[in-house]
Structures are given as structure tokens and as C-alpha cells.
């Protein structure tokens, strides 16, 4: 049975609602009251959420193999016959939406978490300027993100991809009068451009290799009329025109991954995400933790069919993910800005997701994406609530002892910390364990993966350490809040704390899809995603995920819990029990500590290697522009024009105007005697009339004489 129903046939409404309110804010937002702005903008996202939930339920009503709904609104780009795989094919990119298991997860996360963050923003942004602008951008973001995850082809996905990038830029630079915020926005935009260049090259290569950018032709009726990447790839593999590990596929996969590293902040393009914390905190939660930065993960998972046939690219993805995970975690160890700790943590967790994708555990990556969206959004919103309570203070060295003063913030924050650290039975435990388990399993088949698993395990310990450091410094111990702020500490309003509670609930229960693993069955979440993430059947290349024995499963879980516990214990020793211990620790490794504090000098290295070199190039080109183009070209042309115009002026002045003046002067001369009569004094006019009458009388006097004589 194919899925059908109101919510599915009105799938296009899900992105349309936020787009409409975004347009409303653009045109009329300035004139609307705060309450009206909240009503429209939060309401539209709620409607999207309702429609998304409805659509997912209607999709679930179908049996697993048919859980695909595809809707083409119109044909968008139709260039006609286009050369691809050795012939001409009718290339079409349509504006269409695709709902399958993968996009189900994404739209629920985007609209659900997005809605909660919108509600939270009502409270958080209440006293900020540009309220309507904020919500307008946020809704535009929701539209772009939903377009991204619902797109049925790569080009439409790219539209959403760029849209979220634009909104990210606008919202990072929301306080655009602050230079650091404006700079951070630009940095995010430019770094993302580098990734996007790779991404779009990948799209072009896909179009020319497969002759289509549509993900799948499933759910579109006649399978011969529509072509999808997955189907074409399957045909080409079965016909032997493409083999697993073909260089073409590897290049495509790597180029797409370049795009993913930009959007999802992986090495080497992660540098923009920490700076993105300049934006308002709800933005950090929504865009830079829960949704936009996971777009890269989504995209790689979406293209899993290609990745599974490109083992080299898979290794690159796994390695980049693992290195990013531990690299970012190490920087998070020493950061003092509450939001920056979370930013590095986000980079690290995204690295985890890519590690999962790289070892072929696509479902585990998406699973971690979802749980991470819950608890990282909660952490950011909690951090925002703390900042709100402390009237803008972000430095954790100036916090402490807030556990009981702001209970509605501190309790959910604790839950999110437990979830991110990976403590049983919170959400993060299951998803992280799933990733580590798959990495370990791969390492048994291929030894080189053992290092990746170890890196993941160590990162888990570091995650626990920096998260509990953050928790202890913020909420426990003695208060280090400055006295003038101390008086104003207040709990955040209900609109902010209620979303925290809902997210806290999700952070606890979001991982329970994986509970069956405990008694040796498959993760229900993984089963749900299987139809989408299965890839293409081949004899050699496809990545096979095996099942562990139950014993091994428990062993890995206990091992990772032990590592996490160690991180927790260290954090407890350093920051709660004996605060001086950490300083001693830091001073005994001054160079390492310094390196971490300065974030490995990566920004400085990038400045020296790229930014300043580009500036030098610009300066050189500027010189060329000023001296050659302006000097020779523009100024030379100007000189010539001036010379010509001088001649023209002379001609105009003496010949053309001279003739005109001559005519004028002649007329003027003629008028001189006539002008004398016109004195302006009406008495003189009356006299001239009389003179005229007398002349007339004199002339006709003869006739009058005759007439008068006859009269007599």
C-alpha cells in the first residue's frame, strides 16, 4: 500500500508556513506588536510541526518497503538534452519534496526542536531590539532548512543549503553594530563558501555522471519516466559500467564531503563555528547546534549509496570525523566562555557523527544527530537562560553556585550534561555507544579502524570532563558572580523554562530506540532507516554492518561508561573538590595548556597562510587597479575626452552659440525703437491711444466733414 493522506498531499505546506510569516515580517514586521510577531512566527512553526507530525504518521501507516512519498510541484530546471554517461539524457531538476524515513527524522527534529526554540526566543528576545527581524530571519531559516531536508534532488537541497547559510550569516551578525558579530557572520559565510564550492562541483559531477540529480525515483509512479541517482547507480553497477571504488565515485564523494566539512564545521573548515557564538543564544541552539550544522551529516547519509561504493572517501570521512572529534574536544577543555565550550563540543559531536558515517553506520550517525539535537539545543538554551539570569555574563569563571538560585535552568542543564557525557540511560549514551560499537566492529575487520575507535573512546572521556567542568563551574561551588550582578539574578520566564523541560524529557528518552540492543536485538531506529540507508547491492564494495555478540556489546558499554566516569571523576577533583588542583595541572604543562587556550593557533595559521596572502594579492591587484587601469586606462581616456571637449567647447561657444546670438542681437536691435513706446505708465498709453484717434480722425476727417455738412 502506498502512503497517502492529507498531510502527505500537503507536504509543501511544511516549508511554506514559515516562508509566509518570514515574508510577513519582511513587509509588515516593523509595524506589528511583539505579541503579533510571536503569534505569527511561532504559530507558523507550530503549524509546520503539526503537518510534519501528521505526514510522518501517514507515512508510517504504510509498510516499511513503501515508506516513500515523493511530490513534484513543478519542473524547475529543464535544460533539455544534456550529455551524461556517454549520451544525451533529458536532464530535469524539479521542485519536489521527498518524504522517506530519513527526511522524517529530519523534519521532526527541525520543526520540533525549532518550535521549542521559537517559544524560548519569545522570552529570550523580549527585551532586545529588532524583535520582528529576529523572528523573520528565524522563520526564513526554518523554510530553508525544511527545503533542505525535504528536497527530492541535490539542486533543491543546495537551495536550502545556501538559504540556511544566508540565515546563519544574518543571525550571527544579528547585533551587526558590534564589530565582532559582523566579522563572525562574514567569517561563517566565507568559510562556508569554500565548502560550497566543493559541494557544487560534486553536484555537477553527479549530474554529468548519472544524468539526474534526483535522489530516488521511488514513489513517483512509472519508474521508467523518472530517473534517480540510486536507481541509475544500481543499473550502472549491475551493467558493470561502474565498479565499487571507481575514481569517479570517490571524487564525487570527496567533493560532497568538502561541502559537508564547511556546513558541519569539520577540519579544516570548522573555524567559523566558535565565532558564530556571537549570535543570540537561541540561534546558537537552533542553527549552530541542532539543525543547520547537521545538514552535512544529513547530506552524506542521503548520498550513502555513492559513499558505500567509495571506500577511500569513507575512510577520509571517518578519519576527518575522528580527528575533529578529539581535536575540538581538547579545545573545549580550557575554554572559559560558556557558549564557546558548547560550540567546540558541537564540533566534536559532529565529528562523532562523521565517524559513524565513515565506518558505514549511517543510521547510528543519524541517531546521534537526533539525540544531539535534543541535548545540545537544551545545553545552549540552558546556557542562554544562565546568561539571561546573569544579565549577559558569559564567562564561567564569574559564575558558580547557581544550582539552587535558578533551579528551572540548572536541573535541565544537568540532564543535558549527563546525556552529552553519555551516561546510562540518557539519550547520548545510546547513540554514542552505537557509534563506538560500530567503529569497534569495523576495527575487527580492518585493523586501521582500531585507532578511530580508540580516538572515539578517549573523546568520550574528554567530553565528560569538559561538560562536568562546565556544570561544576557554572552551578556548583562558591559563587564568583560579581556583586552588582548577584542582586539581579532571576529565574527566566516560563516561555524559556518550559521548552527546557520538554527538551530535558527528550534528552532522557530520545535514546530509548536503542534499548532493544541491550537484549541482543536491533536498534528500532536503525530498522526504521534501513530502506533509505541500505545503499546499492553489490558483490564486493557495500559496507556490511554485523551484529556483535551480546557479551561484546556489554563489554563495550561498560568500557565507555568507565572512560566517561573517569572524565567525570577528574572534573570533580579539579573543579569541585580541590579547585587548586587544576591550576597546578595547568602550570605543570604550560606549553600544552597555552596551546589549548590559543586553540592550536589555527586561526592565526589560517590568517598567515590564507587570509593575509589573499590580502597581499588584493593589495597588489589594488595597485594594478590604481596605477594601470585607473592611471593609464581611465585617466588616459579622461585626458583624451577633456581635450576633445575643449575643442568642442570652442566650436560650440563661438560658432554654434555665435550664430544664435547673432540672430538674437539682430532681433534685439530691431526692437529698440518699438520698445520706447512701452513705458509701463498707463497715462502714456492713454495718450498714444488719443494720438491714434486724432490721426484716424485726421485721415477720415474729409468723410466726416461731408457727412456733417449733409447733416446740417
Amino acid at each position: 500500500m502506498n502512503p497517502s493522506g492529507y498531510f502527505l498531499s500537503h507536504l509543501y505546506l511544511i516549508p511554506l508556513f514559515p516562508l509566509m510569516t518570514a515574508a510577513l515580517m519582511l513587509f509588515f514586521g516593523r509595524r506589528l506588536a511583539h505579541s503579533a510577531v510571536s503569534f505569527f512566527c511561532v504559530g507558523s512553526v507550530f503549524l509546520s510541526f503539526v503537518h510534519a507530525t501528521g505526514a510522518v504518521f501517514q507515512l508510517l501507516a504504510a509498510d516499511p518497503q513503501h515508506r516513500v512519498y515523493q511530490q513534484i510541484l513543478f519542473e524547475w530546471i529543464t535544460p533539455g538534452p544534456t550529455p551524461a554517461h556517454g549520451g544525451l539524457v533529458p536532464f530535469i531538476a524539479d521542485w519536489g519534496y521527498l518524504l522517506d524515513a530519513l527526511s522524517c527524522v529530519m523534519i521532526l527534529v527541525v520543526t520540533g526542536v525549532g518550535f521549542l526554540i521559537h517559544v524560548y526566543s519569545i522570552g529570550y528576545m523580549a527585551h532586545e531590539g529588532g524583535y520582528y527581524r529576529f523572528f523573520g530571519y528565524l522563520n526564513l531559516f526554518m523554510f530553508s532548512m525544511l527545503t533542505l531536508v525535504l528536497a527530492n534532488n541535490l539542486l533543491l537541497l543546495f537551495v536550502g543549503w545556501e538559504g540556511v547559510g544566508l540565515c546563519s550569516y544574518l543571525l550571527i551578525g544579528f547585533y551587526f553594530l558590534k564589530k565582532s558579530a559582523a566579522d563572525a557572520g562574514k567569517k561563517a559565510f566565507i568559510v562556508n563558501r569554500i565548502g560550497d564550492a566543493g559541494f557544487i562541483l560534486g553536484i555537477f559531477l553527479i549530474a554529468s555522471t548519472f544524468g539526474t540529480v534526483r535522489f530516488s525515483s521511488q514513489g513517483l509512479g512509472d519508474p521508467l519516466a523518472f530517473t534517480g541517482i540510486v536507481q541509475t547507480l544500481g543499473t550502472m553497477v549491475s551493467q558493470g559500467r561502474l565498479i565499487a571504488g571507481a575514481p569517479g565515485l570517490t571524487i564525487i564523494a570527496l567533493l560532497l564531503f568538502v561541502g559537508a566539512t564547511g556546513k558541519s564545521a569539520q577540519i579544516p573548515l570548522y573555524v567559523w563555528l566558535p565565532d558564530a557564538m556571537e549570535g543570540p543564544t537561541p540561534v546558537s541552539a537552533l542553527i549552530h547546534a541542532a539543525t543547520m550544522v547537521t545538514a552535512g551529516v544529513y547530506m552524506v547519509a542521503r548520498m550513502n549509496a555513492i559513499y558505500q561504493l567509495a571506500p577511500i572517501a569513507m575512510d577520509v570521512v571517518a578519519m576527518v570525523g575522528a580527528i575533529t572529534a578529539i581535536f575540538a574536544a581538547s579545545m573545549a577543555l580550557v575554554q572559559n566562555d560558556i557558549k564557546r565550550v558548547l560550540a567546540y563540543s558541537t564540533i566534536s559531536q559532529l565529528g562523532y557523527m562523521f565517524l559513524a558515517l565513515g565506518v558505514g553506520a549511517f543510521a547510528a550517525g543519524i541517531f546521534h544527530l537526533m539525540t544531539h539535537a535534543f541535548f545540545k539545543a537544551l545545553l545552549f538554551l540552558g546556557a542562554g537562560s544562565v546568561i539571561h539570569s546573569l544579565s549577559g555574563e558569559q564567562d564561567i569563571r564569574k559564575m558558580g553556585g547557581l544550582w539552587n538560585t535558578i533551579p528551572a535552568t540548572s536541573r535541565p542543564f544537568l540532564i543535558a550534561t549527563l546525556a552529552l557525557a553519555g551516561i546510562f540511560p540518557f539519550a547520548g549514551f545510546f547513540s554514542k555507544d552505537e557509534i563506538l560499537g560500530h567503529a569497534f566492529h569495523r576495527s575487527q575487520m580492518m585493523d586501521r579502524y582500531l585507532a578511530l575507535w580508540l580516538v572515539g573512546l578517549i573523546t568520550a572521556g574528554m567530553t565528560a570532563y569538559y561538560m562536568f567542568r562546565l556544570l561544576f563551574l557554572t552551578f556548583f561551588g562558591l559563587s564568583r558572580v560579581s556583586p552588582e550582578l548577584e542582586e539581579h539574578i532571576h529565574e527566566s520566564p516560563k516561555t524559556m523554562t518550559v521548552p527546557l523541560m520538554i527538551l530535558a524529557f527528550l534528552s532522557i528518552s530520545g535514546g530509548w530506540f536503542a534499548l532493544p540492543v541491550l537484549w541482543g536485538e536491533k536498534n528500532t531506529f536503525g530498522i526504521f532507516l534501513e530502506p533509505v540507508l541500505g545503499g546499492v547491492e553489490t558483490e564486493t564494495g557495500s559496507v556490511q554492518l554485523g551484529q556483535h555478540t551480546l557479551f561484546k556489546e556489554y563489554f563495550l558499554m561498560i568500557l565507555s561508561l568507565a572512560v566517561v566516569g573517569m572524565g567525570l571523576w577528574l572534573a570533580y577533583q579539579h573543579f569541585l573538590k580541590n579547585p587548586k588542583l587544576h591550576d597546578k595541572f595547568a602550570t605543570s604543562f604550560p606549553r600544552l595548556h597555552n596551546l589549548l587556550i590559543h586553540k592550536y593557533y589555527v586561526d592565526e595559521i589560517y590568517d598567515a597562510l590564507f587570509v593575509n596572502r589573499i590580502k597581499d594579492l588584493s593589495t597588489a591587484l589594488g595597485w594594478v587597479d590604481a596605477h594601470v587601469i585607473d592611471g593609464l586606462g581611465v585617466d588616459g581616456a579622461g585626458w583624451l575626452t577633456r581635450l576633445l571637449s575643449r575643442i568642442s567647447i570652442w566650436w560650440d561657444k563661438w560658432i554654434v552659440d555665435g550664430l544664435v546670438n547673432l540672430v538674437g542681437k539682430f532681433t534685439e536691435g530691431l526692437s529698440v525703437p518699438v520698445r520706447m513706446f512701452q513705458t509701463g505708465v498707463f497715462s502714456s498709453y492713454a495718450m498714444w491711444i488719443l494720438v491714434g484717434v486724432v490721426i484716424l480722425l485726421g485721415y477720415y476727417g474729409h468723410h466726416m466733414q461731408v457727412w456733417l455738412r449733409n447733416l446740417r
Binding site: 509701463g680 505708465v681 498707463f682 497715462s683 492713454a686 488719443l690 447733416l711
Partner: protein, 100 residues
């Protein structure tokens, strides 16, 4: 019956007095009065010819001219008052805006 020449002579004299007044006097009010003289010279002419030809039309015409003269005096004085408010003068040689 008096010959028509006498009437015409009187009319002519009255007209000349009026005309010379209009041309030479500086005070606009006096000029207006002179215009009245001219009009009345015309009236005398009309009435005289009316008598000679035994046709009453000329006399009716004279009545119209008298009414017209009264209206004209009212309008003229109004203009002069408005002008005086603007320029604080009623001297004709200072009213020299009527050129080019």
C-alpha cells in the same frame, strides 16, 4: 431747436478736458474722474443725435452708460484701494508694471 453743432462742441470740449486729464494727471482718482467726463461727453453726443433723428434709442443707450459708469467707478476705486494697500501710492507714474 438748437443746432447740433453746439451740442457737439460741448461734447468735444468735455471729451478733451477728460482726455487731457487722463493723460496728464498723476493721481489715479483724478484720472477716474476724468474718465467719467469722457463718458458723459459721449452721453451728450448720444442724447443730441437722438433728438435730431427723433429716435429714442440713443437716450436709452445713455442711461445704460450712466449705470455702467457707476459700476466702473466702483470697480476702479476697488482696484485703486487694493493697489494702495500694496504700494502705498495712487500716483499713476509709479504704476509702471505694464511693460514687456
Amino acid at each position: 431747436m438748437m443746432p447740433v453743432g453746439h451740442y457737439l462742441f460741448l461734447s468735444f470740449a468735455l471729451f478733451m478736458i477728460g482726455a487731457i486729464g487722463v493723460i496728464t494727471r498723476r493721481n489715479v482718482i483724478v484720472i477716474l474722474m476724468s474718465i467719467e467726463l469722457i463718458l458723459n461727453a459721449v452721453n451728450i453726443n448720444l442724447v443730441a443725435f437722438s433728438r435730431i433723428f427723433g429716435d429714442v434709442h440713443g437716450q436709452i443707450f445713455a442711461l445704460f452708460i450712466i449705470a455702467d459708469a457707476a459700476a466702473e467707478a466702483a470697480v476702479g476705486l476697488g482696484i485703486i484701494i487694493a493697489f494702495f494697500r500694496n504700494r502705498e501710492t495712487v500716483r499713476a507714474d509709479e504704476m509702471d508694471l505694464l511693460k514687456w
